[in-house]
């Protein structure tokens, strides 16, 4: 079949696997079911009931948790009466002591605070009108694109593992205690996994198209 034989309507009913380029007719799956590429097993469509509301709730929790986690210490140390507690901001600013490492400190702050919060805010902005059956927000396409591009650079959950490793590393050197922020980052790990499993990118793009 030549491409000219396919009308615009035909093209709208097709979906191409972004991983392997295989083309399928869209048979919208039931809620809770998944449409999987037969060739490479990439999940193409995975709608869920009330996924939009759940994603907004998760994004809101992420914003609250990350902001709160910056204020509380994640670890505190005590050696012979001398104590010191470190919050995320302290950790991010730790590199500032030498000029070359200022760049690194900015990068650390970005991936554990700014990127996760920005991503969550973008998602809320994009999904809220969709959930309420309103027309998409201004620049919603660009916002969703940015949020998708930021996904691999959001590393708040990796920071929690870093805390645990740091704790053990100096455990025989000093008394170390986990602070409230550590538990907030651990909760973030769960939220990030939930966010990924609730998100059906196809459904979001389709609703932005109208």
């Amino acid at each position: 079949m030549a491409p000219s034989d396919l009308t615009e309507q035909d093209l709208q009913d097709l979906i191409a696997c972004p991983t392997c380029d295989a083309v399928y007719h869209i048979v919208p799956p039931e809620k809770g079911q998944r449409a999987v590429c037969a060739r490479c097993h990439t999940v193409l469509i995975a709608p869920r009931k009330r996924a939009g509301e759940q994603l907004i709730a998760i994004a809101l929790s992420i914003v609250i948790l990350v902001v709160a986690a910056t204020l509380f210490p994640f670890l505190s140390i005590n050696v012979g009466g001398l104590g010191h507690a470190a919050s995320v901001l302290d950790a991010a600013l730790a590199f500032s002591s030498s000029p070359l490492l200022v760049v690194l400190s900015l990068a650390v702050t970005a991936v554990i605070i700014f990127v996760p919060v920005l991503r969550a805010l973008l998602l809320i902005y994009v999904l809220t009108p969709i959930v309420r059956d309103r027309p998409p927000a201004d620049h919603a396409i660009r916002a969703f694109r940015l949020s998708e591009a930021l996904r691999p650079w959001s590393m708040a959950e990796i920071f929690a593992i870093g805390c645990a490793v740091a704790l053990v590393k100096i455990a025989d050197l000093a008394q170390v205690h986990l602070g409230p922020a550590f538990w907030m980052f651990s909760a973030l790990m769960v939220l990030v996994v939930l966010q990924d499993s609730f998100m059906c990118r196809y459904t979001v793009w389709k609703s932005l198209e109208k």
Binding site: M1, P3, L6, L11, L14, A16, C17, P18, T19, C20, D21, A22, V23, Y24, H25, V27, G32, R34, A35, A38, R39, C40, A46, I77, V79, H84, A86, D90, A91, A92, L93, A94, F95, S97, S98, L101, L104, A107, V108, V111, I141, F144, R145, E148, P152, M155, I158, I161, G162, V165, A166, V168, K169, I170, D172, A174, V176, R201, W205, L208
Partner: protein
């Protein structure tokens, strides 16, 4: 439920697929109207970008292992630890688990990533003994696992901010932490530049190895595997499978 017939790619159908939002357009369309992504049937420059980021990443990974990651001052003695030396010392103190975490995150994952990305990029040009399916799994592994190498950079940041106890003890970040972070960033960019569709192009499309394959009607199967076949030309229906 599996439907008989060969999977057809957008390129074979004279179409171009949007790799970001999965929309299909006639060949020659420049930009996806749905998401604004630049449309390219295959990213011709992809391999060059992959190799460029790969080389820069490797160039940063070497000094990351040679220079100290941490500078620890305890009273009057100062010690500097590279990644490997730090892990060895942890093991000496009996913290085998944490030594293993550090070695996996800072040595095994980065080195494995360099090897896998190079192998995938190489296989696009020269073929591979591994099936596209298997190579795609490797690619997904690299994409998923790459970020976790940042653990050691975070540990350095955490320790340097926490252990500031005046004359008693202080930990400072070493220059290697900067190289290491850059190396992680560059290898992530290298993996992202890779166009996974190239993996599947190199080999002729094969029937998916799924249960139910033997139940395919042999006629449709045969008709579709021959390239000149006038068999059904419509794309296959999207298979539906319930969540496991």
């Amino acid at each position: 439920m599996e439907i008989a017939g060969k999977v057809r790619t957008a390129r074979e159908m004279g179409l171009v697929a949007c790799a970001r939002c999965t929309r299909v357009w006639p060949r020659g369309t420049a930009r996806c109207t749905r998401c604004g992504h630049k449309l390219q049937s295959r990213d011709r420059l992809a391999l060059q970008k992959v190799w460029a980021w790969w080389v820069v990443g490797l160039m940063c990974y070497i000094p990351a292992n040679m220079y100290p990651m941490l500078r620890t001052r305890m009273l009057a003695t100062t010690s500097e630890d590279t990644i490997i030396a730090g892990a060895v010392e942890l093991a000496h103190h009996g913290s085998y688990g944490i030594a293993l975490v550090i070695l996996v995150a800072s040595v095994l994952i980065p080195v494995g990533k360099f090897l896998i990305i190079a192998g995938l990029a190489f296989s696009v040009r020269h073929g591979s003994a591994l099936s596209p399916e298997r190579r795609h799994q490797l690619y997904e592994l690299v994409e998923y696992i790459g970020r976790w190498s940042m653990i050691d950079v975070f540990v350095v940041a955490i320790l340097s901010s926490l252990v500031q106890l005046g004359t008693l003890a202080a930990i400072q970040p070493g220059i290697a932490s900067l190289f290491f972070a850059l190396s992680v960033i560059f290898t992530m960019l290298s993996a992202q530049s890779f166009d996974s569709r190239l993996i599947f192009d190199a080999d002729p499309p094969v029937e998916p190895p799924l249960p139910g394959l033997s139940a395919l009607p042999p006629v449709a199967h045969e008709a579709d595997t021959s390239p000149e076949s006038p068999g059904p030309r419509r794309p296959r229906d999207l298979t539906e499978r319930p969540t496991p």
